[in-house]
């Protein structure tokens, strides 16, 4: 199978991820580990959009809807069942179902492009408006009160075989990092399967894919649902990192931010948006520690410089640069070889002449 050769870069990155997962808690302070969990959750959201948009060509402006739905579903399920494992499963399933309904509605209605962006954004904003209203006692699912704008406290992860044992922040970090690595390897594998290639072909040319006999609506729906599952899982990790879920996750700022991560990291790559999310997470956190200059101002300037200087996004730019360097090296080696050959042959000639 060529899959292992194809995925060499993926596995390299996964190994780096595992090393980070093991080493980080011994190097970093506790608060950094706790906050990293939040960053990992956001990276998961970025990964899901990298798949859906970067590979599936679906400009989903409301990917946070699935992230938030996942977070809420986890919280509600965990409060009711007391078992985090079940709750995670429920969260992912709910996100998938939600995406299937919304996706069916859009793709089978042939909505695409910026029109689809607006529908998804609008769905997210509707959730934002509606959940904000749920502060009253009547908004109760089982034992869980939704809590309106203030949100709900998310029960921490516990062990499936010992529900009374709640995980420490370091352990939550391990779980989050493991999920991220698995999701990354899974998506990298997925885009190399036949399914993945068809999805990419749909992004390249919908009509052609359709004329080949592929039901593009179905493929889009499926990739959308897979993306939602990953985003939902990200939501689960997010409410574990923050300890709470609030309707904020659905607002315009966060919807736009998700798109920004993907652009910054580079569309058409999976690791790019993940790094984009981490990068912007650390940037906003670092900026928050100062208040001399307005933070919007600094962030705005950085993003503008970024888009002008690194237009293709982080990872594609680095990749191109590396390829170019490699090419140049090969070129140099070749030239040197030719040169040596030439000198050698001329010496040989000379020697021959001498003989």
């Amino acid at each position: 199978m060529t899959i292992f050769r194809d995925m060499r870069a993926t596995f390299t990155i996964a190994v780096i991820g595992i090393l980070f997962m093991v080493l980080a808690p011994t190097v970093l302070e506790l608060f950094a580990i706790i906050n990293l969990t939040t960053a990992i959750a956001l990276a998961m959201l970025a990964l899901s959009l990298a798949l859906v948009w970067g590979y599936g060509g679906i400009l989903c402006f409301g990917q946070t809807a699935f992230f938030g739905v996942g977070a809420y579903a986890y919280t509600v399920a965990a409060i009711n069942s007391g078992d985090a494992a079940t709750a995670i499963l429920i969260a992912v399933v709910v996100a998938i179902i939600f995406a299937s309904v919304l996706g069916y509605f859009m793709f089978y209605g042939r909505v695409s492009d910026v029109y689809l962006a607006v529908i998804t954004l609008t769905v997210s904003l509707i959730l934002f408006s509606l959940i904000r209203r749920t502060s009253g006692p009547e908004y109760k699912i089982g034992d869980a009160l939704l809590g309106g704008f203030n949100g709900v406290t998310a029960p921490p992860l516990n062990l499936p075989w010992d529900r009374a044992y709640f995980l420490f922040p370091e352990h939550v970090f391990y779980v989050a990092m493991a999920f991220l690595i698995i999701a990354y390897v899974f998506t990298a594998w997925l885009v190399r399967t036949k399914f993945g290639r068809v999805v990419i072909s749909i992004k390249e040319n919908e009509l052609r894919a359709e004329l080949l006999g592929y039901d593009i609506r179905l493929y889009k729906l499926l990739i959308f649902m897979i993306g939602a599952a990953i985003a939902g899982l990200g939501g689960v990790l997010f409410c574990n990192g923050v300890g709470r879920v609030t309707p904020d996750v659905f607002n315009l700022y966060n919807s736009a931010l998700t798109i920004i991560w993907v652009i910054v990291g580079g569309r058409g790559t999976l690791i790019g948006p993940v790094l984009g999310a981490f990068g912007i997470f650390y940037l906003t956190s670092a900026l928050g520690t100062q208040s001399t200059i307005n933070n919007n101002l600094i962030l705005g300037i950085i993003l503008i410089i970024f888009v002008l200087a690194i237009p293709k996004g982080l990872v594609p730019t680095v990749r191109d640069w590396m390829i170019e360097r490699k090419d140049r090296r090969i070129q140099r080696v070749r030239e040197r070889r030719i040169r040596t050959r030439r000198t050698r042959s001329s010496t040989q000639n000379a020697e021959g002449a001498g003989e």
């Binding site: 040319n205 009509l207 004329l211 006999g213």
Partner: protein, 245 residues
């Protein structure tokens, strides 16, 4: 002449855009192993007709029957899935992918990976695309992109092929090769070709259907049509000399 089985038939097929009747009650029939060219001046409705056949647009009324199956209003992929190969007017290829990947994606629709790989290699050889195998299709010349798309049709081994202006933008050399390819395909498949280029039609055609104002004006050999005064009238102006070529 024994025409064999009917492969595709339309009955009273109409397509209206607002008040415009782009296709107006067209009754069209094609028999097995036939190669039929659709011609007509710009706006005659042949491209709209083609889009109805391929499911790109849903006709206003009427029937399209492919092998006894009513397909009017079906999605493109459903029609394609019957084993119909389709090539559109503008080259519709996956610009970001390589030639090989383009053809593989087409083959893989019908066959498992191993078989698809084999078919891809065969088709690349058959169409002489080996030289641009790894190249990104978006960077190829127009004619080459047309050939890649033809390759995507050929590799599926269709029994009915619908081609919309397959030689647009091709050099004379390429047009000749395309004519050969189409003839070869015709050995195992029925073909409908929408074309402007009279020279090309002359190379391949047996029967020609002339469209005019959304209707079929006549259906005959090219010689008979070219000598028909009404047909000449329709092609008046720039088109008239084309007919005479």
């Amino acid at each position: 002449m024994n025409k064999g089985e009917i492969v595709l038939e339309t009955r009273n097929l109409s397509m209206h855009f607002g008040g415009v009747r782009a296709v107006d009650s067209v009754n069209f029939t094609i028999w097995e192993n036939e190669l039929r060219c659709l011609i007509g001046p710009n706006g005659a409705g042949k491209s709209t007709f083609f889009k109805c056949l391929t499911g790109q647009i849903r006709p206003t009324s009427g029937d399209i029957v492919i092998r006894n199956l009513q397909v009017a209003g079906h999605q493109s992929h459903e029609i394609s899935s019957l084993g119909v190969g389709i090539k559109t007017q503008v080259p519709n290829v996956f610009d970001g992918l390589s030639t090989e990947e383009n053809i593989w994606l087409s083959a893989r629709r019908w066959h498992n990976t191993a078989h698809a790989n084999r078919l891809t290699t065969q088709t690349l050889d058959r169409l002489d695309l080996g030289g641009i195998r790894e190249k990104t299709v978006g960077r190829l010349a127009h004619g080459e992109r047309q050939w890649v798309e033809l390759g995507m049709v050929v590799v599926t081994e269709p029994w009915l092929v619908l081609l919309d202006e397959p030689t647009a933008g091709m050099t004379y050399e390429e047009t000749l090769r395309t004519a050969d390819l189409i003839k070869t395909m015709n050995e195992t498949a029925t073909l409908i070709v929408v074309e402007h280029d009279m020279q090309f039609i002359r190379m391949i055609s047996k029967t020609v259907t002339l469209f005019h104002e959304g209707k079929i004006l006549m259906e005959d050999t090219l010689e008979n049509i070219s000598s028909n005064p009404v047909a000449r009238e329709i092609y008046l102006g720039q088109r008239s000399n084309k007919l005479e070529q």
